[in-house]
């Protein structure tokens, strides 16, 4: 199949599937579920086909450019490269698995499924669009279904959580909108004023924005993306959203939505404002480290199982920010120092995104499995699940170990690659980030001890703790299998990502060099004026 055509299919297939759901009989919930599962599965298969057809050496595969709103230079412009492709496949996978986990949703099934498919469409669009405006549109498209999915199918405090989620994200996207307009005007409203590739190329030649403007634009973009990531201190929407969201939505939220923050930073913020990015690099790394430590400490104090996993997401996504930002330059020449280590950090961060997408999806699913049975999540009222649900507990242990960063599972590679590449940026922050591994082990093992180990179950509804069924086992086993494959042979991912990331890093470094020279010249003039 034509890979260029594939991209549009990936975006619109779920939408078409959602539309066709309308012809189903409202009462036949299972048929609709199977249909939606089929649609997500087909989307996933298409994404895998795309993966198979993608040649990492080719770089960006640009496709499907056509006019949309020509008077404002807005195009329908899609493309895929080594940075977005793994995330696209991850989206397909997590959506499929989350759909398989959606059998527990019994309220307004059709509405749920339609929103779910729309959500997938939006996510795909975000990862595939190369037009800033299109990106923004998909970003918002994905927001609304999420709001309803949390707000309608959520837990007791669903309205609060949904509104919190919505407001946080909306605040971020407003900042992004401002930045987008800055780029629009900085590009001189030329034909490519929303074309991310053209903007990035311009930025890499130092011709897009002045250094000062770049810093502003970067901060706006970064805050927008950091909210999504989520980074300390704008993370507080996450625990609430996770706790209240139904299990499949938590899986999507942790598995894909959080990745959009990181993706936005690496796809938009860094290439478009390299000077701003480098200027803020230390701050970014510091935020990353604080997120790691803070999230881990906060997770340690939780008594709600899901909230604990949510805080672990904060901690894990801190590594992403950390890895992205370890960009060190020579203060006088503006050359990038130790670019290999930075690339390792970038790659590690990307890998961590995928790995977290696998492990935390699995963890949320595992929490959901017991929640479906006993309808509570109080860590102190569990125990002994290993005896009652042995296979489930084994799979859960595997997935939790993946989250803990155990070698041989995916979480380890991302975390460790990021951490060991950090020393060349800042030894102090590197040491702090490494301390995260202790805390991570602490909260995950402690949680596992309280839930799975122990002599007996101490909470309500002990009779409901039946062994996991085939569907649940399949979802968990698939996730665990992928976690193992990625952990044992990470090159399968790195080989795809590395060329694109390298190209991005090189272009950004180049852009920084130009802007640095510009800034130096300006500073020199100011100094001269002062001397006079």
């Amino acid at each position: 199949m034509n890979p260029l055509f594939l991209l549009s299919i990936l975006i619109f297939l779920p939408l078409v599937g959602a539309a066709l759901l309308l012809i189903f009989d409202e009462r036949n919930a299972d048929a609709m579920r199977f249909w939606s599962l089929g649609v997500t599965l087909l989307t996933f298969i298409f994404s895998v086909v795309l993966w198979c057809q993608y040649n990492p050496a080719e770089g960006m595969l640009v496709a499907d450019v056509c006019e949309w709103i020509p008077s404002w230079n807005i195009y329908y412009r899609l493309g895929v490269d080594g940075i977005s492709l793994p995330l696209v496949v991850l989206t397909g996978l997590v959506s499929t698995l989350a759909m398989a986990a959606s059998w527990s949703i019994t309220k307004h099934v059709r509405g749920y499924l339609i929103l779910f498919l729309m959500l997938e469409s939006g996510m795909m669009g975000v990862f595939l669009s190369l037009d800033f405006f299109l990106f923004y549109v998909f970003w918002e498209v994905m927001l609304l279904p999420m709001y309803f999915l949390i707000g309608v199918w959520g837990g007791p405090r669903k309205e609060y959580a949904a509104i919190k989620f919505f407001l946080y994200t909306l605040a971020g996207s407003v900042l992004m909108l401002i930045a987008m307009l800055m780029f629009y005007f900085a590009s001189g409203s030329q034909a490519d004023s929303f074309n991310l590739l053209a903007l990035a190329q311009k930025a890499s030649q130092g011709g897009l924005m002045s250094p000062g403007t770049q810093i502003t634009a970067f901060l706006l973009l970064f805050i927008g993306f950091a909210i999504k990531l989520p980074a300390f201190p704008v993370h507080t929407w996450l625990p609430d959203a996770h706790v209240e969201a139904p299990t499949p939505i938590s899986m999507i939220l942790a598995g894909v939505l959080l990745k959009m923050g990181g993706y936005g930073i690496i796809r938009i913020a860094f290439p478009l404002c390299p000077y701003g990015a480098q200027y803020c690099a230390w701050g970014l790394v510091a935020i990353g480290v604080v997120s790691i430590i803070y999230g881990a400490f906060a997770a340690l104090a939780q008594t709600d199982f899901k909230r604990l996993v949510a805080y672990s997401s904060v901690s894990h996504m801190g590594y992403v920010l950390l890895g992205l930002a370890i960009w060190k330059i020579n203060e006088t020449t503006g050359e990038t120092m130790n670019s290999d280590y930075w690339q390792m950090g970038l790659n590690g961060a990307m890998f961590q995104m995928i790995a977290h997408g696998i492990s935390s999806t699995g963890m949320f699913f595992m929490v959901g499995v017991v929640y479906d049975r006993v309808h509570h999540r109080d860590l102190n009222k569990f125990g002994g699940l290993m005896g009652l649900m042995p296979l489930y507990s084994g799979l859960a242990a595997g997935l939790f170990f993946a989250g803990l960063g155990l070698p041989g599972l995916c979480g380890f590679i991302g975390e460790v690659f990021v951490v060991i590449s950090t020393w060349s940026f800042s030894p102090m922050l590197a040491v702090l980030s490494a301390a995260g591994v202790i805390l991570t082990a602490g909260y995950i093992l402690w949680a596992m001890q309280r839930v799975y180990l122990g002599a007996e179950y101490r909470g309500p509804h002990p009779e409901a703790l039946t062994p996991s069924n085939g569907r649940e086992n399949a979802v968990a086993a698939i996730l665990l299998g992928i976690a193992i494959v990625l952990g044992v042979y990470p090159a399968v991912l790195f080989d795809v990502m590395e060329p694109s990331i390298k190209a991005m890093a090189t272009a950004a470094a180049e852009g920084y060099r130009h802007s640095h020279a510009e800034a130096q010249a300006a500073a020199g003039q100011a100094q001269a004026a002062l001397n006079r």
Partner: protein, 834 residues
């Protein structure tokens, strides 16, 4: 070819247990819970692994003509003849050179070797890079290396590449690897066999766990988990062998964590017991604390050296593409690391071969940091002071686990890594290692004196012995430390298995005060235990220890501990300021003998103290006693010949080049004793150690064996000390207060920050928004809407008042029309008057 053969053999030995694990873990699905199939599968895997390892060792030896053994004999003779020559010479010949020469003399080595071997001595800088213990592929070796090829390395597969940085899974096969492989697989095989007997109680659908209680006071009933135990054991074997085979420090870290998690799984095997799962968590988390340091070490190494590989990477033409870690640190001919005196930085050797490495030098202090970091990992794994507290708790696991994981192999991994990473340790690090080991040995030994749980005693003894190994390594006794590692693996696994046999025989009674006189009930166990105790105590018959059959009177522990103590003595003689490094181990040697014999007397000798236990106690079946007997032979005589024996020579066959001749002090630094210096004090140290051991033994006999002294009275009189020791020097309490509680407090603090600050800000702004919205609403309703309504009302009332004009009466309308026309005319006339 040899390299490939070795690699494949070890690969099989390494991966078989993993395959075993993959099958066994699902034992609950394909087999009955009463089936032993899983166990035999595990045994088959690990036994095949042992066969492969042993074959690999043989092939390796044949490939180099067993040159390490030959060279050592010559070397020993030579040094015995004129011990000071080598020490005084400015550029002492490298042992490999000697080996090559010897091999040449035996017509077993390459003819062209000797001329090449002379080159390294010309320039000190080149000396480091040309040492051959580094080399990679065979064919490359043939051309470049002067001595017999003993080190083989290469890459399994690549994990990731970033520019010039590459991470991969490698292998590094030298004599130490092979010895460790053989040792681990052999001991594991024995322990697997023993475990078939020990874990047979799990072969049931309804296992009653007497140590786990439900809330209603009943014991936990659960299905047996026989297969799962062996699955975890297999996984552990895989991880441990991977650790040994690892060709780069990152790979070591990977398997380091994996053995950690296996240990976690095995300690927490009885998941129903709170104490077990807590101990498992404690073990893993404390290991992670060490790994935190390990990571820091990795960071420094990675940042400054740009590679993790031990060995050089060569391309097909034999050119070094990237230098390995072991050849990056420039050492002068005397073994000292060359420091640039101006800025305190160390030139990274062969940096030119690492194109992506931007750092050409490394500050010396960072070398110390890197070394200490990696050693921190070893502290965690080997339960050294101050991270020693997890190991006694780890005895919650089944006894075979304690034997394999927590005494013989995994905890020794820390020592192994210290030995493996030795070329990267500078002397400050070594001094730290020595002190840590020394303190650990002493502290643990003192606690062991008062421990009453039979496994706890052994656990503390393990810690203590690991401290010995670290001490040995720290005082430049590379061979001594690792020698002790291997011998200790044998006799400690033996003793643990014996204790397991006792526990099994006594129906899970572990408290020694309830035992006594058991030798009558379980003679094989008692006998083999005695062998182990004598071995660990380092007993030998004075005067009879000598070559040949004299060895019959000296057990392995004697030799290895002797080596450690002798090295320590030599070190202290060279550096008198650090006299503690000799005194404490010597005292500890006495204590060791004391508590080990105390254990034996307490358990096996004397009269039964608890007749209930005694009456129901029985000797274990053959599947358990068999491994005991095999191990007891090896525990006694594996070190046959001591430092001239083949085991020691095999271990030290590929020791770092500068180790054997020591490092002279430069500019106030420490002097590292060479083999000759050690040899010179060997008899002296041996004598001291033996005296200490005998004193300890005698004291133990006096207190516990003779029955002439009231132990309780002594305990009462030394109550304070006893309490202090019995509470393990209060380390647990200390850590609880220092780390655990603050961590939880900080955690709660963070969580409440989220709740009380961030969310409060959010809620505050939300409330403010609502307030503004309320004002806005009021404004809208009162002002804007008011205006609009006013307009509407006005229109309405105007229409209402005009409504009356619409009378519906035809005639009026006509009137209106007429009047309108008239008015129109009037207006026209008024407006446009003619």
């Amino acid at each position: 070819m040899v390299g490939e053969t070795l690699r494949n053999l070890l690969l099989i030995a390494w991966l078989l247990p993993l395959c075993g694990f993959a099958v066994e873990i699902f034992g609950g699905f394909w087999g009955s819970r009463r089936s032993r199939v899983a166990a035999w599968l595990a045994v088959g895997c690990i036994a095949t692994g042992f066969v492969c390892s042993a074959s690999a060792l043989t092939i390796w030896g044949n490939a180099n003509g067993w040159s390490v053994l030959h060279h050592a004999e010559h070397h020993a003779d030579e040094t015995a003849a004129d011990g000071h020559v080598a020490h005084d010479s400015v550029t002492p010949p490298a042992p490999e050179t000697l080996a090559a020469a010897d091999a040449h003399a035996d017509a077993a080595a390459k003819p062209a070797a000797e001329p090449d071997a002379q080159k390294p001595q010309d320039s000190s800088a080149a000396a480091t890079t040309a040492h051959n213990d580094s080399a990679d592929h065979d064919h490359q070796h043939t051309a470049a290396s002067p001595a017999a090829r003993t080190v083989y390395s290469g890459t399994f597969y690549r994990l990731a590449t970033f520019g010039s940085l590459e991470l991969s899974l490698d292998y590094y096969i030298d004599s130490l690897t092979l010895v460790m492989f053989t040792m681990v697989t052999f001991i594991a095989t024995c322990i697997h066999l023993f475990a078939i007997g020990y874990m047979s109680e799990e072969l049931t659908e309804e296992y009653v766990d007497h140590h786990a209680h439900l809330r209603n006071g009943h014991h936990v009933h659960r299905p047996g988990r026989f297969y799962r135990f062996f699955a975890f054991l297999s996984l552990f074997c895989f991880s441990m062998l991977g650790l040994v085979l690892a060709g780069n420090i990152f790979q070591v870290f990977i398997f380091w964590e994996l053995v950690g998690i296996c240990s976690f799984l095995l300690i927490g095997f009885y998941t129903e017991r709170k104490s077990a799962s807590t101990a498992a968590n404690k073990a893993f988390i404390m290991n992670r604390v060490g790994d935190f340091g390990f990571l820091i070490g990795l960071m420094v190494v990675w940042t400054y050296f740009g590679t993790f590989k031990f060995a050089d990477t060569v391309d097909v033409d034999g050119h070094v593409v990237q230098a390995g870690l072991f050849h990056m640190l420039p050492r002068a001919a005397d073994g000292n690391v060359i420091i640039n005196p101006e800025n305190g930085e160390v030139q990274i050797g062969a940096a030119a071969a690492n194109p992506g490495n931007t750092h050409k030098t490394i500050p010396y202090y960072l070398l110390v940091v890197a070394g200490l970091g990696v050693f921190a990992g070893c502290i965690g794994k080997s339960a050294q002071f101050p991270l020693q507290t997890w190991l006694p708790d780890a005895m919650e696991g089944p006894t075979p686990v304690s034997a394999l994981v927590h005494s013989a192999t995994m905890v020794a991994a820390g020592v192994y890594l210290t030995g493996r990473f030795y070329p990267m340790f500078v002397q400050e690090v070594l001094l730290t290692i020595a002190y840590i080991g020394c303190i650990t040995a002493f502290v643990a030994a003192t606690i062991a004196i008062v421990a009453t749980d039979i496994k706890k005693v052994l656990a503390y003894s393990t810690i203590s012995q690991l401290g010995y190994m670290m001490l040995g390594l720290g005082v430049f006794g590379w061979g001594a430390g690792l020698f002790h590692l291997v011998t200790h693996a044998f006799f400690k696994s033996l003793m643990f298995l014996c204790s397991g046999s006792v526990i099994y025989g006594c129906h899970h009674e572990q408290e020694m005060p309830k035992m006594g006189g058991l030798w009558r009930k379980m003679p094989i166990t008692a006998f083999t235990m005695l062998v182990g105790v004598m071995a660990i105590a380092g007993l030998a018959v004075p005067g009879l220890v000598g070559p040949g059959f004299g060895q019959l009177f000296a057990f392995s522990g004697f030799h290895s501990k002797d080596a450690v103590v002798a090295t320590a003595l030599a070190y202290v003689q060279a550096n008198p300021a650090h006299f503690l490094l000799f005194i404490l181990p010597l005292i500890t040697a006495g204590i060791t003998a004391f508590y080990m014999f105390r254990l034996w007397f307490y358990t096996f000798a004397g009269t039964p103290r608890d007749h209930h236990v005694y009456d129901h106690c029985h000797e274990s079946p053959l599947i358990m006693t068999g491994p005991l007997l095999v191990l007891s032979v090896l525990a006694a005589y594996c070190a046959w010949g001591g430092e001239q024996g083949s085991l020691y020579l095999l271990i030290t066959g590929d020791q770092p080049a500068y180790v054997s001749h020591g490092i002279p002090a430069v500019a106030g630094a420490l002097t590292m004793p060479g083999h000759d210096a050690v040899h010179a004090v060997h008899h002296q140290a041996g004598t001291y150690a033996l005296i200490a051991a005998f004193s300890g033994t005698f004291l133990a006999w006096l207190l516990y064996g003779s029955g002439k002294v009231d132990v309780a009275e002594i305990k009462r009189q030394l109550g304070g000390v006893h309490g202090f020791l019995a509470n393990k020097w209060h380390f647990d309490e200390l850590y609880d207060a220092l780390f655990m509680r603050p961590t939880h407090v900080v955690g709660r603090f963070c969580a409440s920050i989220d709740r009380l600050i961030f969310d409060a800000i959010l809620h505050g702004s939300a409330a403010a928004t609502v307030l503004v919205a309320k004002w806005d609403r009021a404004f809208d309703e009162k002002v804007v809407d008011g205006l609009v309504n006013l307009l509407g009302n006005a229109t309405w009332s105007a229409g209402n008042s005009l409504k009356v004009l619409q009378t519906g009466r035809l005639r009026q309308y006509v009137m209106f029309i007429v009047a309108g026309v008239v008015a129109l005319f009037g207006v026209l006339l008024a407006t446009f008057p003619r």
